[in-house]
């Protein structure tokens, strides 16, 4: 790829060979490995996978928010706005946070500070990053709350998180994330901890926000249907690796990796006859304990061949160049 071409359609975020190392009782394990993807402005990348597959650590690593026992592998790169996020000083990373990349966490019950009013929590980045006065920040906070659908925003700014419902709190968290007009929004399972009834509303809100401001978004979820309907491209993760990257529309029909198909099959469907058995995936994903030889999914895969157990499959693309998958024995593309 030439430099000029790069400049023309420079992606918002370009992640290359991202690995996250976790130190566990004196051993170092790679919990995220060889993750590469690109994200364009205004697009949404969905990341799906079972719990423990490294989704959260992947997101946190981009913002430099890994826990003390984890670290980004030295050869990883993540270009955002022309800068490699992994090589920024803490102070320049602080400028990227909020103003460049904002994050929404899984559990709104614990992600808001219980002893600060939500108004103060929204105002903080406004004052710190945008240099607003306290009064201006406050009126902006009211606007923001209003825009994320919090009713009675004027009163709500002075409330404490415990006085609000889970859905409301997640709206507040979104307002905080949007406060400085980020170019990229990372939403780490933003609806998992919420009631089913408010999940859709929160996702709608996120879609609306994103469409309005052309931000890019990484939406982490374990719900395939959410990924298929709310994103442009879906990355399927298994045991710390991305095993398939596919456009959202083709997810249910054109998947080529057996693991993706297994995930799709495990979704309960309305059109099935009642009491039909669900297709749970046999076995459990490998823990981050041992070294993995070959494809990590091979022990649970019904299409596994000899090669799968010997060598890790590399990422390769189909002819279109937009569908990437890592499998030695992929599912055949259905006839057009």
């Amino acid at each position: 790829m030439t430099a000029s071409k790069d400049a023309v359609q420079a992606p918002l975020l370009r992640v290359e060979n991202l690995g996250v190392l976790l130190q566990n009782e004196g051993r170092v394990v790679r919990v995220v490995d060889a993750v590469s993807f690109r994200l364009k402005q205004g697009e949404t990348l969905g990341i799906v996978g079972e719990s423990g597959c490294g989704k959260t650590l992947l997101c946190r690593s981009l913002l430099g928010l890994l826990p003390g026992c984890a670290a980004v592998a030295p050869d990883a790169k993540a270009f955002f706005d022309g800068k490699d996020l992994f090589r920024l000083s803490e102070s320049s990373l602080n400028k990227v946070r909020a103003a460049g990349i904002a994050m929404i966490f899984q559990d709104p019950l614990s992600s808001l500070n219980p002893v600060m009013t939500i108004g103060r929590q929204i105002c903080e980045p406004l004052v710190h990053h945008l240099g607003m006065t306290a009064r201006k920040a406050r009126s902006r906070a009211v606007e923001l709350l209003h825009s994320v659908g919090v009713s009675g925003a004027e009163q709500r700014v002075d409330h404490y998180p415990h006085q609000m419902s889970g859905g409301m709190r997640q709206r507040v968290a979104i307002a905080i994330a949007l406060s400085c007009g980020p170019k990229l929004l990372i939403a780490d399972e933003p609806t998992t901890a919420l009631d089913v009834t408010v999940q859709a509303a929160i996702l709608d809100l996120l879609m609306r926000v994103q469409a309005g401001s052309k931000t890019g978004m990484i939406l982490v979820t374990h719900d395939l249907r959410v990924a298929a309907t709310r994103t442009h491209e879906v990355a399927v993760m298994y045991a710390g690796r991305i095993v398939e990257r596919i456009s959202a529309g083709a997810l249910f029909t054109h998947m080529r990796v057996p693991y993706t198909r297994a995930l799709v099959d495990a979704i309960p469907k309305m059109d099935r006859p009642p009491h039909a058995p669900l297709h749970a995936i046999e076995g459990r994903p490998p823990g981050p304990a041992g070294a993995i030889y070959g494809c990590a999914f091979a022990p649970r895969c019904d299409r596994a061949i000899e090669k799968c157990r010997a060598r890790t499959p590399p990422m390769r693309s189909d002819r279109s160049g937009r569908h990437w998958y890592a499998c030695w024995n992929p599912i055949q593309e259905p006839a057009p």
Binding site: R97, M103, F105, H162, I176
Partner: protein, 324 residues
């Protein structure tokens, strides 16, 4: 709020019982209290006079009622030796003791809060380890030893600060601070350690919370996160301990006032014990107990200020024998 009300009632009963115990001191003294007060050289008439004055001839119940009524009006009796009303004697010395305790606790906070925050922020770091082991050693130094070491170093060897004496704040603020510094430091250097330790462990817990991650994701600088986001939720145990330490502070003040010759309540009490001025002893002990219970009640209330979520019932009553 009803939990708080219950607690207030409970504390009232405790104070009431404690005052009764204090009252009974006179009767618990072995032998005749009047003889004790009068001393060895007293005549029979003297003893009789004392008896009359204290009402020792009357029945216990009657005396108790009278005493209680007096105490409720703030009348703690009159010193037999100096003829000074006990209430006046206490009030005259109270500012010294309060200044000493506040100064000591301020120094303890100034030392423990930054140290606790840093240790909690970087646990197992070099500084944390040093703080951890030295603090354990410091905790084993009794207040009176600490006071002597400080006198030896700063008053006798270096000559920076006076070893004894007290200058009122109104007379000369600088001299007052100089005279208070070593006494306050003697108490503070012992008391800051537990404060630091609880803050450290609470800080470690708080820093694992999601909202700290959230605050970091907002791109706030570390000091903002530590002081604005993490400190307040980490203060509960510290505040509890603060209340408990008032007991240590009072004990420390007793000793330190004696060593540094500060005219506070501690010296009043100790002096009265030596001269067996029972009315003064009784008054001081009652006053200290009531103040102590009141402060602990205030600490309970302060929880609600710290955390809007909770109305914690119960809270920090004492768990250890606390003499320093």
């Amino acid at each position: 709020m009803s939990a708080l009300g219950k607690r207030a009632l409970h504390l009232f009963l405790v104070v009431f019982a404690a005052s009764s115990v204090t009252f009974l001191m006179v009767d618990l003294l072995p032998g005749d209290a009047a003889y004790q007060i009068a001393g060895d050289t007293a005549t029979l008439e003297d003893v009789q006079a004392i008896r009359e004055e204290l009402g020792l001839n009357r029945s216990l119940v009657l005396r108790y009622m009278n005493w209680l009524a007096d105490v409720a009006r703030g009348d703690l009796g009159v010193s037999y030796l100096t003829r000074e009303p006990v209430r006046e004697a206490i009030m005259a010395r109270l500012p010294v003791t309060i200044e000493l305790m506040i100064a000591a606790q301020l120094i303890a906070l100034v030392l423990s809060v930054p140290a606790g925050i840093y240790s909690g922020y970087r646990p197992r770091s070099c500084i944390d380890r040093i703080l951890g082991s030295t603090s354990f050693a410091v905790m084993s130094i009794p207040v009176f030893v600490m006071a002597l070491v400080l006198i030896y170093l700063f008053a006798l060897k270096l000559g920076w600060l006076p070893a004894t004496g007290y200058v009122p704040l109104s007379a000369d603020p600088v001299a007052n601070i100089r005279s208070m510094l070593l006494p306050a430091l003697s108490i503070a250097l012992v008391e800051w350690v537990p404060l630091m330790r609880v803050l450290r462990s609470d800080m470690i817990d708080t820093l694992h919370e999601d909202y700290i991650l959230m605050a970091r994701s907002k791109g706030l600088p570390t000091h903002t996160i530590l002081f604005r986001h993490a400190l307040r939720p980490s203060l509960f145990t510290l505040v509890t301990l603060f209340g408990i330490q008032v007991g240590h502070l009072i004990g420390g003040a007793l000793i330190v006032e004696t060593i540094f010759a500060l005219p506070g309540i501690g010296r009043l009490l100790i002096g009265a014990i030596f001269s067996r001025d029972i009315i003064v002893v009784q008054g001081c002990i009652l006053f200290i107990a009531v103040a102590y219970v009141a402060v602990n009640f205030l600490v309970d209330i302060s929880y609600t200020l710290l955390d809007p979520r909770i109305r914690r019932g119960g809270g920090g009553w004492l768990t250890a024998p606390h003499i320093r």
